[in-house]
């Protein structure tokens, strides 16, 4: 191991990250500190949390890194948040947007 590897990080082996719950459409889901909302939903087996505007097709994570905007979700009342980027916080309320009441109706059209 290079000397550099011994620096800069907490002692990973001995610390346990905090565990808590978030609420998705009224349903509590387990989360671990540091997880993104998208990761929490995926761990819970949830793959889709919105439908598209015209064809009402289900959407969830695609690019995983904030590029595609497929994973938009409402977080504590704030619509159009990227689930793959937003970190989960204790008690966070997540809600899906389905059946055309999609995020695209409330904002966006950034480049029309």
């Amino acid at each position: 191991m290079s000397p550099a590897q011994q620096h800069g990080t907490p002692d990973a082996a001995t610390t346990e990250p905090e565990r808590f719950e978030v609420v998705f459409d009224g349903r509590p889901l387990p989360a671990i500190a540091g997880q993104s909302v998208g990761s929490v939903l995926t761990d819970a087996g949830i793959r889709s949390w919105r439908t598209t505007r015209t064809q009402l097709r289900p959407r969830g994570l695609f690019c995983g890194i904030g590029v595609c905007y497929e994973c938009l979700i409402t977080v504590d009342g704030e619509p159009n948040q990227r689930a793959c980027l937003v970190p989960a916080r204790p008690g966070m309320a997540l809600s899906s947007t389905v059946l055309g009441n999609g995020p695209f109706d409330t904002a966006g059209e950034t480049d029309d």
Binding site: S2, H7, A12
Partner: protein, 496 residues
Amino acid sequence: MTEHPRDITATSPRYDVAVVGAGPAGLAAAVTAAEAGCRVVLVDAGQQPGGQYWRHPDETAPRGDESLGHHDWSTFAGLRTRLHGLVRRQRITYLPRRQVWFVQRPSTGDEPPAHTLHLTTAYAGADGGDDGPDAVTGDAVILCPGGYDRQLPIPGWDLPGVMAAGGVQALLKGHRTVAGRRAIVAGTGPFLLPVATGLAQAGADVVAVCEAGSITGWSRDPLAAAAVPGKGREALEYATALIRHRIPYRQRTAITAIRGTDTVQSVELSRLDREGRIRKQAGTVDVDLVALGWGFTPSLELVTATGAATRKDIDDSLVAVVDEEQRATVPGIYVAGEATGVGGAVLAVAEGELAGLITARDQRAAVSQESVRALQKRITRHRRFAAAMHTAHPVPRHWHDWLHPETTVCRCEEVSYQQVCGARDDLGAGDARTVKLMARPGMGWCQGRVCGFASAKLAAAREGRALTADDLRPTAKQPFAAPISLEQLAEGPQHE
């Protein structure tokens, strides 16, 4: 995006060097320039340093060994230690969770030609309540924005459970989340291997890696591979892991349709000929996760915003034109990493380091010419390797034969293949820009980052000609590099 009043610079702190991106390239650039004596600001959209390659669990909530699944972790640990030290000594101002949404060009005659980077939080609440600057100015700016997975539309690719290969990797590396239980990894290029072995090591059943190309392509330039022995070792490790996990590596094979109702249930495989036409069906496989990757698309929005020249690279990506010292064609702008050509993290580090040295030298710091030459040599070797890799793993020429009329091309605006073709055949749109205006692919939230490459390819193919840089430029030319609020627009550069 040309003329904007620039009085906002009065309120934006000024640095010798502003670096965008804390991935392999940006980290190396920032610490190198700072150690050479420059005052540096490092802006990054990520929560913590590492970029895409060294993505790792939240450092404030560690999840076991943070280097799990990583190559070159000691390189990262070294760069991070240097970064922390330089931040403590106030040589680097590090601004994570900040996205550059607008680049303000210098006024004519400004010396040095300082650019101002306008910042927004990467997501709501990302600033954690601290009041970072809304803009920073760099006498020199090093752009290291990296890139994202390149995608090709295929029937059913918009079903949940179908993900970009890099996204699957990001969930694994960043969160220890396994995106599915029974997975298939498909597309082209060596990056499919770490994704497949990463999934298998995390407990997923990986039914196959489907490589549209063939690794015999490597024999065309064996010297290139030999020039970078580390890569050979890495490939061997992946090959061993594939065997250990009994993952078949199926060459000249592609997923040509994905089936399911609300989520992916199965995929149809096809054997391809050399040109990517379907030769024969190769069966249906039940899976709950599909990871797709066709190489990477460099992020060129910021480069384009500076007015710097771009060109089409050997892998059909739009990249920044740089000289042998990482200078873009606009004074004061330097580019390093994937944005100069997709070539992997080792190359990105070397380019970042070189850009850091050169910006320091251009600002009259003493810099060892020997180090510059050694880096240039390393970069040349890795570029040659990258070129061999791209030649061996092209996007199959006839991939669009796999599409059905109703296949979704643009996922945001739900534009079908038929509609894209219609724009050309019925309305006479002969280039990607016109197709985009008529059929609206690439007009949604992602601004064409997902379908831009494919739309450009389709437009060129229907005209019966090769892809050009002009086909690719519309996607890279965006009014803003990130969606921003109306409030920010109102407060932003134009109205100050």
